[in-house]
């Protein structure tokens, strides 16, 4: 394997971008999970320690980061189901494009109501 691939003219279409996005969201979710287990572990320290740290999350900046996290999880989850269908469903590969559109539709349908409700909690006090 050459250590530095020469410049390539290959520009993947949806397939490549969805793969890149699946990879980036997967890594992001993984690092979030490490931190999330650590902060939840504070319930073993004391109620005050837990409430204090969770309290620092209750601000608009973290609120918006949570929107990003949930958007990433929803994409990774439904794009993951698409990958599974392509691998195991006989008609999957033939319906590539439809599956891709389906991921987008499900993502929007779940994400929009989530954002509306979550931001109401974040900004509505």
């Amino acid at each position: 394997m050459p250590s530095k691939p020469a410049g390539t003219l290959y520009r993947g279409r949806e397939g490549m971008w969805s793969w890149v996005a699946h990879r980036i969201t997967g890594v992001g979710i993984f690092f979030f999970l490490l931190v999330h287990v650590l902060d939840t572990a504070l319930v073993r320290v004391s109620p005050e320690a837990y409430n204090e740290v969770i309290g620092t999350y209750k601000n608009p900046i973290v609120g918006l980061m949570e929107v990003g996290l949930v958007g990433a999880i929803l994409f990774h989850a439904f794009n993951g189901i698409r990958l599974i269908l392509v691998d195991f469903w006989a008609k999957g590969p033939r319906n590539q494009r439809k599956l891709m559109i389906g991921v987008g539709v499900v993502w929007v349908v779940l994400f929009v109501p989530f954002v509306a409700r979550h931001l109401t909690h974040v900004f509505g006090g």
């Binding site: 997967g26 890594v27 999970l33 004391s46 409430n51 969770i54 599974i84 989530f114 909690h121």
Partner: protein, 151 residues
Amino acid sequence: MSDIAAPRSSSRARNLKGGGRNRSGQTNFELYSWLFMRLSGLALVVLVLGHLFTNLMLGDGINGLDFAFVAGKWASPLWQVWDLLMLWLAMLHGTNGMRTIINDYAEKDQTRFWLKALLLTASIVIVVLGTLVIFTFDPCLDPHSTLSVCQ
């Protein structure tokens, strides 16, 4: 007399049967790992989306999250099992995914080795810690607790 090594096929064939290896002498680890990513992924859709829905959408959403909320949830064996399964599956799935990514991008053997050692260490610490927290959680940790379960 020329020394010609005996054909090895017979002893290799014997190894093939018992050793859990395929024709090219490798184990099926990558196949199982590929399958595991898909099976755990399916389970995680339910576990993770259910977790997000109950914690962020129901009730007061994010504003309702505090020690009492956690105590209320873990009073139920359902949520204990749910969270335990989610912890283990997400960590195994995520760790295995990170392993793939390290294999893809870290080209030097040394770099790969150390990155994987770091990954494995972090993952074990998190899984053990999370598991202990779920099993040893005590809602009445604080002797002055005003939670109803502690009265």
